[in-house]
Amino acid sequence: MANDERIKKTNFLQKTLMRPEFGSICGVILVLIFFLLIARDNGMFNPDGIRNWSVVSAQFAIIAVGACLLMIAGEFDLSVGSMIGFSGMVLAIGSIHYGLPVWFSILIAYVLSIALGAFNGFLVIKTRLPSFIVTLAFLYILRGLTIFMSVTTTDKTILSGMKPLADADWLAPIFGGESLTGLFRWMGDNGWIEVFSRGTNEGLPVVSGIPNLILWAIGLVIFGHWLLTKTRFGNWIYASGGDANAARYAGVPVTKVKILMFMFTAFCACTFAMIQVTEFGSAGADRGLLKEFEAIICVVIGGALLTGGYGSVIGAGLGAIMFGVVQQGLFFSGAESSLFRVFLGGLLLIAVITNTYIRRLIVGTDD
């Protein structure tokens, strides 16, 4: 092999550095160490403490997976938050106001939000406008429609009373329920995990099981990672975001790929809403505010480039963990909650600067 002596040898360290997940792995470790040091005594790493920030992280992860694949495919969706409010309201109005079976309302919510996602994508492709502006319009349109829809049908903007309906349904528990409750009770009986010492739940474990939303998050991250790195379609996602024209010339169905990713993002937003509504028992027309930005932050912290073509679903999942740990960690450590935003903004800035640097390292140019 002819070695070109002018090509710098890339060592193991540099190779690791170039992996999109690298930064977020370090970030998660650093953040965990930080809070282990300052918030350990406050119960952040007890079973219920872990459960607390895991749930928050999982919520971020669910929407981050969709946003991540869409960003790698070269587009944004700023209507994710409004989509969460919309699909949650569809579920609640359907099952509470119209008395439809919960499973059927869930189905309607999915169909409507995926169709809206497809329409979003269709508009972006057909108008060739930046997805930023098209989905920004949808952020407002969808939010307004959601409030309008809930006020005109029910005279309210918050609908509660979902809990008993969801508990009685066969489909709803896969969103709001818990798994492995038997295992946790068994662990509690054996004294391995904390149990309630008094009250009606005496003897039952403080953490009764793994919330299904955590399983959703893990499942979606694994699916997204598999789709992106192992399948032919994954190569099309990279190519569509890397250079849509080059991809088109090579025969990649760019339009189809992008529209499908908009639909997948809508699917993730709808899943988030289904979980929220069935778990907390209520839906609100203002739910999901700022979620689109939180999803994008997770993705960027996870090492994806805003310009598309590069990123990692695992990274986005780690970004979500970092986000959740920081948010709940500051709460546990009793810090002023407004500091959370400062922290988050700082984290985002560091992530973007690092990502840009890494891209230069890969492409080897100064642009």
């Binding site: 090509i7 032919r232 190519a239 890397g242 250079d243 010339y249 025969g251 890969i362 492409v363």
Partner: protein
């Protein structure tokens, strides 16, 4: 002489009121390198974009292997074996060499799931690239880490691997250094000897003259001349490119 594999007759193309091409005819036979020369704005790019299916001509005929064809998108041309290597696009810098090489043609396993067979793809990429004397550190190496000449070579290797019969090279040497240019010209020569029809677009007469069998000079959307290698000198070509006459003197 062989029949032309692709033949374009009296191609015209207007963009609104601008006439980009005003009746250009061109053909290329298997194993021939036909150079398309012309100064900036002569219509070279528009012409090859018609040949590769990016634009549709306003009027004119296009024959592929003797049959009338109409390409509505670049992929139509590609499936017919007409591959274009663009100077600026075609390779995605952030993607690995393998992912670029197989973009749109990924080998799969696992039936319906369409799993990208990375192992097979990596092996083929390494093999094909070594045929062009490019030794990759790893097939996972991003294309962005390759030099300009190597990127051109990856693009050519990709086109050839996927069965290109006509290879259109858009200014492949314009951004390259001396040594890389020599490599690319050498590759063009090899392709021609393999029986591939090469359309070589350039405004560098010396590069064209070193590999070309035939030369067509375009000027302001029209064919100025077509000549065989033995019938012209580089100086003739240079003068034709300058507008069909000897470069005007300054006191004119």
């Amino acid at each position: 002489m062989l029949d032309p594999i692709i033949q374009l007759k009296n191609i015209k193309k207007n963009f609104g009121s601008v006439i980009a091409l005003d009746g250009v005819s061109f053909d290329v036979t298997p194993g021939e390198c036909h150079c398309l020369l012309g100064d900036n704005g002569a219509g070279k790019s528009t012409f090859i974009k018609i040949m590769s299916g990016v634009y549709r001509p306003t009027s004119g005929e296009m024959l592929f292997q003797g049959e009338d064809v109409k390409f509505t998108k670049p992929y139509d041309a590609l499936t017919n074996g007409i591959a274009t290597v663009y100077q600026d696009l075609g390779m995605i810098p952030l993607m690995s060499v393998t992912r670029n090489f197989f973009m749109g043609n990924e080998p799969t396993k696992g039936g319906l799931l369409k799993i990208f067979d990375h192992e097979l793809a990596n092996k083929i990429t390494i093999d094909e690239m070594s045929k062009f004397q490019i030794n990759l550190r790893s097939p996972d190496q991003a294309v962005g880490t390759l030099s300009g000449g190597e990127r051109q070579t990856v693009a050519i290797a990709r086109a050839v691997y996927f069965g290109a019969k006509v290879l259109i090279l858009d200014e492949p040497t314009s951004a390259l250094g001396v040594k890389q240019t020599a490599n690319v010209l050498d590759t063009v020569d090899k392709m021609r000897k393999k029986g591939i029809a090469v359309v070589f677009i350039t405004h560098n007469v010396r590069h064209a003259y070193s590999v070309g069998d035939r030369f067509t000079v375009l000027d302001r959307g029209k064919t100025l001349a077509t000549a065989n290698h033995k019938d012209v000198s580089p100086d003739d070509l240079q003068n034709m490119m300058a507008g069909g006459k000897v470069l005007p003197s300054l006191n004119e």
